[in-house]
């Protein structure tokens, strides 16, 4: 790992020597008999920008829940890099190993300022006693400034997050992921409810993040997916239906069938 953040995190060192950063193998989850995830296999490469699409109930959100530790699968494996077994970790532990998640509905800390939101999300010692004495270092202040630049909210430094527009909240939330210096970003429906302009800016933002980070985007909006994705995975009934470029996927007869019906 490039950033030395002390003994607290070293127990989960990310090993991406085999190129892939995320391995999901043979995952199964059922809720009251309904199979939300059905023998799912998915591999994400380091630095990749991947879009996941699929009709409602395809298991996209459940898959995110498994990766972030919110849902435990009935069977299967989920590894982060070569060595970190995600199924053995709790939600905060997973967050601290370097997986950041952006929720479908923008959830920022509404009564805090934009900068404070980033401060709280920042990577570092998250223990109670440390928090009581914590002061922002100059590097941390610089990181906040830099991140605000990236997400285009520099002029809203002191603004209360609750007063931001819907699109701005989405960007702020992405910023909150970035200050955690994650290796893998999970982004759930980033452009839902956005205007066209906001959508374009979001696409630009996500493209600029790929390479430095691995990004997984779950999205319904096909136009948006086409504008950002190199590789698309189609989920259907908890399983991978097709994988490839947007054009390949769109011309896949099985995908057409699922999306358009018979």
């Amino acid at each position: 790992m490039s950033d030395g953040e002390g003994a607290h995190f070293n127990q989960h060192t990310l090993d991406i020597s085999h190129k892939a950063i995320l391995y999901l193998e043979g995952l199964n989850v059922s809720f009251d008999g309904f199979k939300a995830i059905n023998d799912l296999n998915l591999y994400i490469d380091a630095g990749e920008l991947r879009c996941i699409i699929g009709p409602n109930g395809a298991g996209k959100t459940t898959m995110m829940d498994i990766i972030t530790g919110k849902t435990k699968p009935d069977s299967g494996k989920a590894f982060f890099g070569q060595t970190i077994d995600l199924l053995k970790l709790t939600e905060p532990e997973i967050a601290n190993t370097g997986i950041g998640r952006k929720f479908q509905k923008p959830t920022v800390f509404e009564s805090h300022s934009v900068a404070e939101n980033l401060e709280l999300a920042m990577k570092g010692d998250k223990r109670v006693w440390y928090s009581l004495r914590a002061k922002l270092s100059s590097e941390q202040l610089a990181l906040i400034g830099e991140t605000l630049q990236t997400i285009g909210l520099t002029e809203h430094y002191h603004k209360q997050a609750g007063a931001l527009s819907h699109g701005q909240k989405q960007w702020l939330e992405i910023g909150m992921l970035l200050v955690q210096k994650p290796h893998l970003l999970l982004v759930d429906e980033p452009v839902a409810g956005m205007t066209h302009q906001e959508m374009e800016r979001t696409a630009e933002l996500l493209r600029s993040l790929a390479g430095k980070h691995s990004v997984v985007v779950v999205e319904h909006d096909m136009e948006f997916v086409r504008s950002i994705a190199h590789k698309v995975t189609v989920l259907h009934q908890g399983n991978v239906l097709a994988e490839g470029s947007m054009d390949e996927v769109q011309n896949n007869p099985r995908v057409v069938e699922v999306y358009l019906g018979e």
Binding site: P92, F109, H112, L120, K126, L132
Partner: protein
């Protein structure tokens, strides 16, 4: 200075502490130095009454910290207050010595009455003031820690948590009513004579306790404010607003909750310990679930998540209570209920929010007129 740093953005707190400082200086002078015949004289019973209000105010600050800033509606803080009170009461009981009705130098009267021959193990050490003060912090703190650790780790939140805090204080009420518990049963602990060798009847002792209550309130207030100003405080508010998000950002939410809850319980315990020598009695009634609900009403009326609002609410409501239970004893509970309804409907931010509410209202009117 350190204090001005803490109060930098806290206008209400500055005003509240300034008024408190004036009262703490003026009241002792008006009680001890002004002749009793003078109309300026503050009688001792009034000093003690105000001292009682100040301990309530500290209790309200403790509740506001967990309710206003952490979002945990505790309906059991009366229990921590009472436990602190009992710890102080046990010290005061041991101070009576052989001046009790039965003249037993070791055993408090109620134990002699129950035909007990020796002091139970949990009464050992309470003849030492420092030990009793340690217990004032330790007993409520330990209960809050264990309770919080179990409840928050199981992710019990919202109404369910409020209900089990009520159950906790109710269980303690029933337990302390029992004579076998060894805390004086129904009658509780009373007939105190002196504290650290000073007679509790003396004006000077009463004034000292009053001043001490005020100073403790100020210190408690500043401590809470310092916590809220720190990053810890921002995390606390984040947990209140979106708990799941805070967890995903990487904070162990239950640790934060346990820490704040325990700290708050210790403050409540200190308030109880200052309360008991001033009112001269502690009995199981203090564990009554109704007491804990009343504390929440003080905070709601004063204004949640302001801290100084809690102080204001506690003092105003209790002053009204003293006034009305004197004038029309039957009507007090109805009045309290009515006040609560009015505040909930028209003053969601309490009395402390009245100012900003008026400002936006008239500010808007002026804009319209212009």
């Amino acid at each position: 200075m350190f204090i001005s740093q803490i109060l930098k953005n806290d206008r209400g707190g500055q005003i509240m502490l300034a008024v408190l400082a004036m009262i703490l200086i003026a009241v002792p002078i008006l009680n001890l130095m002004v002749a009793e015949t003078s109309s300026m004289h503050v009688p001792t019973y009034l000093v003690t009454l105000m001292g009682k209000y100040l301990t309530y105010a500290l209790l309200a600050v403790a509740v506001d910290l967990v309710w206003g800033y952490l979002g945990i509606l505790s309906l059991g803080h009366g229990a921590f207050f009472a436990l602190g009170g009992y710890a102080m009461g046990m010290y005061l009981m041991r101070q009576i010595g052989d001046r009790g009705v039965y003249g037993n130098p070791e055993l408090p009267d109620f134990m002699v009455f129950l035909n007990w021959n020796e002091l139970p193990w949990f009464w050992q050490g309470f003849d030492m003031f420092w030990f009793a003060m340690l217990m004032v912090l330790f007993v409520p703190g330990l209960l809050a820690f264990v309770f919080g650790w179990l409840a928050f780790r199981s992710r019990v939140t919202g109404v369910y948590l409020s209900i089990i805090t009520q159950a906790m204080t109710y269980a303690l009420l029933l337990a302390f009513f029992r004579n076998e518990m060894g805390f004086g049963g129904n009658n509780g602990l009373t007939d105190f004579k002196d504290i650290l060798g000073f007679s509790l009847q003396a004006d000077s002792t009463r004034v000292s306790l009053f001043v001490l209550s005020g100073l403790t309130l100020a210190v408690g207030y500043l401590l809470c404010r310092a916590v809220i100003n720190s990053k810890l405080g921002r995390i606390t508010v984040a947990i209140r607003d979106v708990e799941s998000r805070t967890r995903f950002v990487g904070y162990k939410v239950e640790n934060y909750k346990v820490w704040i809850f325990t700290f708050s319980a210790m403050l409540a315990g200190i308030a109880g310990a200052l309360y008991v020598p001033q009112v001269g009695i502690i009995n199981p009634g203090e564990f009554s679930p109704l007491n804990s609900i009343e504390i929440v009403i003080w905070v709601a009326m004063g204004g949640r998540a302001t801290l100084y609002g809690a102080v204001l609410g506690a003092i105003l409501v209790n002053y009204a209570k003293t006034l009305f239970t004197g004038l029309m004893p039957e009507s007090w509970l109805f009045l309290l209920g009515a006040l609560f309804v009015v505040v909930t409907l028209y003053l969601p931010q309490g009395i402390a929010g009245l100012w900003s509410q008026l400002k936006t209202k008239f500010g808007r009117k002026r804009e319209v007129a212009a």
